[in-house]
């Protein structure tokens, strides 16, 4: 069915440019005009933005304008993006055609940066199109005038939907959307997304889950020219381990020189810093190369973005802050340093290059080590085959729901049954049990404790009309200060001071923010890289970290264990398949193929469904290395559980290290010999039942669970991020979440927030789901190689040993060491003779 003909200004505008509306743009318009919600899946450069707004623009262009004296109309179209920067970008990109067509349509942004007077004005005189973020939507619907403000709403456009739905922000947004639908039942929702594995999930996400509404329609735009992706075939030696890719910098620099504008992506901030330093070290032509990551000061980031827009940069080193579809300049090369960890992420990042759909994008992958070579290869094949690996959607988080329940009460008194129906119409909460919902309401009211001692302090209370209402306006104020689901690790400002005067002067500029956790591990005088500089750590004062210029250029780089993202399930599968199939090694660089051949001769390469476990002695230790390829998080959990079991079996494990690909455990006893004698069996060590009692016992003490609890406590409103009148930072949270956790765990382990915490940890930091699948998959398929020396495949992880930080319960041992130094100091050298 064709849409109604485009209004005159649109036809003129297209014609004046020699363009015609694209098929998918008209398709989407027709469906919108028929009252349908749609999901538009299109690659970058396909005119997605215009497609998403065309239904709104045409409708607004033909609506009679408000006459003087008439009441102001409400918002017509709400656009929501995951990034503030994207909203700002769209304002510009949409404003241009609107101005050129001479349309009388107002477009404004509303983000955390919008000044108060502008927000107030927006409430009185709403723009036709409001561009905003999920957090701002939560605030808008929690206001008392929400119903009126959104009464005229016709469209919601959700940008980068694929990236929104996998997080708690997505849950918050889904709840907000359900609320908007309760105001405007025939609301049309348009989702814009990159290619995803399960589009049905997103199509459901866009419409009410009430059993009556059909799924949203789907429009798919096929990709244009295939990207040209190469793995850097380095003349240099590809390292066995590590994440720096330092070896390839001269070759990367050459590539930058040969192109107009290059985007260099890395996985972590520390890699970005390192890469930036290395490039400048060899930047003989003084090419304008810039750095961009989320920890840098905003002003500095804006400067880089401006320079990029105006085309005055030759290269920019960036982390995920630039992942999403911000449209700048003409990038003709994307370099990805380190493995992309997921095929979807690779596709997304390569989409940055060459925003004209019909020309192929050019990309170079630079693996940092040999396993990454295989991973890059697998990612390329996936990108060609169109295979996608976006993480599966999880059920809506209860801490987010708690926040929404309080927000609902802030807007107007609610009926519990009605709100339950509304909440369960949001896709992530469709399976929420009525009883669980009641417990969340109870949690919001009084904390939901079995010991019902807080009734008199209730934040919301059921009144005679059966509706829950807020008991004091100050709780609405608290809600507004604490809305959102982004809980950052405590950050400190990094401020420049003169060397050695950290405690005295405090005049210098702020360079950005850095995690407190990193600063915990360094002492005054240590050097590290930040904001493209090598800095000397001078000390901490309140919420600031003082730094000065370091004298030398060899910094101690912020040490992360590896990539920020764990290897995706899909890529892991591909890498396993590649290992098992020598025919596919031809596609790999010769030195890597050679490495695999030697492994085959000296040990074995596992068949695709098998788990290879090697044991061998080295020095005065005995090692066990397993290769599950399930990603760092799952491997860390496996390591914790394996060492507990080995302890009981008398193997005397001393430690372990985990990477994305493998796990190594070292012990005092000969694991290989014990397995030969049948004292231990690997099948028993790797049995799935480790996910029972062992997991429970470990979890109880795990710092991972405490960190997860802190996030849940903040999001759910149990503890406040900010309190009216006092800006609280992570360092100053007056009651530590760890202490609350300890008390709650021992007194009410089944409390709803503990449940939320465990659910989060299982899918997040611990990756238990993935570990469980692996253990059941390899049952009966463990291949044990008892070697008398280290195998080629084991070299990469063995090189990681010693680089890892000491984790877990060893804190008393560290205290004992520190105490021991006191004894040595007191005894002088006496003990050494």
């Amino acid at each position: 069915m064709p849409p109604a003909p485009l209004p005159e200004p649109f036809l003129r505008w297209f014609a004046s440019r020699g363009w015609a509306p694209r098929a998918h743009q008209l398709d989407l318009l027709a469906r919108a005009q028929a009252g349908r919600s749609s999901l538009l899946i299109a690659p970058t450069g396909a005119g997605k933005t215009l497609a998403g707004f065309l239904p709104s623009l045409t409708e607004l262009a033909t609506t009679p304008k408000r006459r003087p004296g008439e009441a102001h109309r409400g918002i017509h179209t709400l656009y929501i993006s995951p990034l503030k920067a994207l909203a700002v970008d769209i304002e510009r990109n949409l404003g241009t055609p609107v101005a050129e067509m001479g349309l009388d349509i107002t477009i404004e942004t509303r983000t955390g940066d919008t000044p108060v007077h502008k927000r107030q004005r927006q409430k009185l005189k709403p723009p036709d199109i409001l561009l905003t973020t999920p957090e701002q939507l939560a605030l808008l619907i929690a206001a008392g005038d929400a119903r009126r403000f959104f009464a005229d709403l016709r469209f919601v456009v959700l940008d980068e939907l694929h990236s929104l739905v996998t997080s708690k922000r997505g849950h918050l947004l889904a709840l907000g959307l359900a609320r908007l639908r309760s105001f405007v039942p025939d609301l049309r929702v348009i989702g814009l997304s990159a290619t995803v594995a399960q589009p049905e999930e997103l199509r459901r996400w866009l419409v009410a889950q009430d059993g009556a509404s059909p799924m949203a329609d789907q429009i798919v735009v096929e990709g244009g020219a295939k990207p040209i992706i190469q793995i850097l075939d380095s003349r240099e030696h590809v390292p066995w381990a590590g994440h720096s890719a330092r070896y390839a910098m001269p070759e990367v620099y050459d590539a930058i020189r040969r192109h107009q504008t290059t985007l260099l992506f890395v996985n972590t901030r520390s890699q970005a810093e390192m890469l930036f330093q290395e490039l400048w070290r060899i930047n003989e032509d003084s090419l304008p190369i810039a750095l961009h990551h989320g920890s840098l000061d905003v002003a500095q980031r804006r400067k880089v973005e401006k320079a990029m827009e105006s085309g005055s940069l030759r290269a920019i080193v960036a982390t995920s802050t630039l992942d999403l579809g911000i449209d700048w300049g003409d990038v003709d090369l994307v370099v990805h340093v380190g493995a992309p960890k997921g095929a979807s992420r690779l596709a997304q990042r390569i989409g940055r290059s060459n925003h004209r759909m019909d020309e192929p994008s050019e990309a170079i992958l630079v693996p940092a080590n040999r396993f990454e070579v295989m991973e890059c290869r697998a990612a390329i094949e996936a990108n060609y085959l169109g295979a996608q690996d976006t993480p599966p959607l999880v059920d809506g988080a209860l801490d987010v729901l708690a926040q929404h329940v309080l927000g609902s009460a802030c807007a107007e008194p609610f009926d519990e049954g009605e709100l339950y129906r509304e909440v369960t119409s949001a896709a992530p909460y469709a399976r929420l049990a009525r009883e669980t919902f009641s417990r969340v309401v109870d949690f919001v009211a009084t904390g939901g404790y079995a010991l019902r001692s807080y009734e008199r302090y209730a934040k919301i209370r059921k009144t005679k009309d059966g509706r829950w209402r807020i008991t004091h306006p100050r709780f609405a104020q608290q809600y507004r200060l604490n809305v959102g689901t982004i809980v950052e690790a405590p950050y400190l400002n990094v401020r420049y001071v003169r060397a050695g005067r950290g405690s005295v002067s405090r005049g210098g500029p702020v360079l950005g923010k850095i995690e407190e956790g990193f600063l915990e591990t360094i002492a005054p005088g240590d050097t590290f890289m930040f904001a493209g500089k090598v800095l000397r750590f001078e000390g901490i004062r309140e919420n600031e970290c003082f730094v000065s210029n370091a004298a030398d250029q060899d910094a101690r780089v912020p040490s992360y264990a590896g990539g920020k993202f764990p290897l995706s399930t899909y890529l892991a599968d591909q890498v396993r398949a590649m290992l098992a199939d020598p025919a596919r090694w031809q596609a790999l660089p010769e030195q890597v193929a050679d490495w695999l051949r030697i492994q085959r001769d000296k040990s074995v390469l596992p068949a695709k469904g098998d788990l290879l476990v090697e044991t061998f002695p080295r020095g005065n230790r005995f090692y066990m290395v397993a290769y599950p390829f399930e990603g760092r998080l799952a491997h860390q959990t496996l390591g914790m559980l394996l060492t507990r079991r080995m302890e009981r079996a008398g193997v005397q494990p001393l430690g372990f290290v985990a990477t994305d690909y493998s796990i190594a455990v070292w012990a005092l006893e000969d694991i290989g010999a014990m397995a030969r004698r049948g004292v231990v069996t690997l099948a028993a060590l790797f049995d799935e039942d480790m996910l029972g009692d062992d997991l429970e016992a470990w979890l109880a003490e795990s710092w991972l669970l405490k960190r997860t609890f802190r996030n849940c406590a903040l999001i759910s409103g149990l503890i406040e991020k900010r309190h009216p009148g006092q800006e609280k930072t992570g360092r100053q949270v007056t009651v530590s979440a760890d202490l609350i956790y300890d008390v709650l765990r021992s007194h009410e382990p089944d409390h709803i927030l503990m449940q939320a915490t465990r659910a989060d940890a299982a899918s997040g930091l611990l990756d238990i789901g993935r570990l469980g699948e692996m253990l059941s998959r390899v049952r009966g398929r463990i291949v044990h190689k008892d070697l008398d020396r280290i195998s080629p495949l084991a070299v990469p992880i063995m090189l990681e040993i010693g680089k890892e930080r000491v984790e877990g319960g060893a804190s008393d041992a560290l205290l004992a060491e520190a105490e021991g130094d006191l004894v040595e100091e007191a005894m002088g050298n006496a003990g050494q003779d």
Partner: protein, 236 residues
Amino acid sequence: MLARTEDTRRTSITARLAGREVILDMVGALVDPEASMLVVSDLHLEKGSSYARRGSMLPPYDTMATLARLGALLARHDPAIVISLGDSFHDGEGAARLAEPARAALAAMMAGRQWLWVAGNHDPEPPSGLGGDCVAEVAVGGLRFRHEPSKDGRDGEVAGHLHPGARIVRRGRAVRRACFASDGRRLIMPAFGAYTGMLNVMDRAYRGLFDWPEFRAHLLGRERIYTIAGAQLRPG
């Protein structure tokens, strides 16, 4: 690999304070055996309900958790005198909010003992209806007990208020623990309450209180007490 083997489990240690021997228990109490006296500081009872009043519904189990630890401590040492060194309650109405089971547990602990509530900044008024004696400051066996450390640094002063904690950094990892802070002349007690945080002994608030070369932090570990010199400690 990490730990030096210790042949004695130091769940408590003996320290000298202004010439007098005292026992520092890893639970966070000071014991003077000669005077049959036990001292704890900064219980902050009813902190949970104090927060609940302003909308943060912290788990309401802190008071019982704190009292259970105190009860175990008293059973172990069976002192004749107990000093609660100020900030026993998180706010002035804390004592009035005590639930019946907590009130009963406290009464059982106080029975047959001399019980001294030292006034603190959170609870300057005596706790109502609980018994015991209320004092601003008290001297027993050559030691003086008060809530806030005095600036003129008298020998033998035992105080609380600051919630001392200490931090070490080893092998790329930081460990932070509550501690007794002492230079052998005066001592500051760790906070005992279940919801009490800590303030690093390197903070400005401690400036001028200690003779730094003699300073030791006695950290409350999971397994025992660790005595660590000032040079090993880190701010933050």
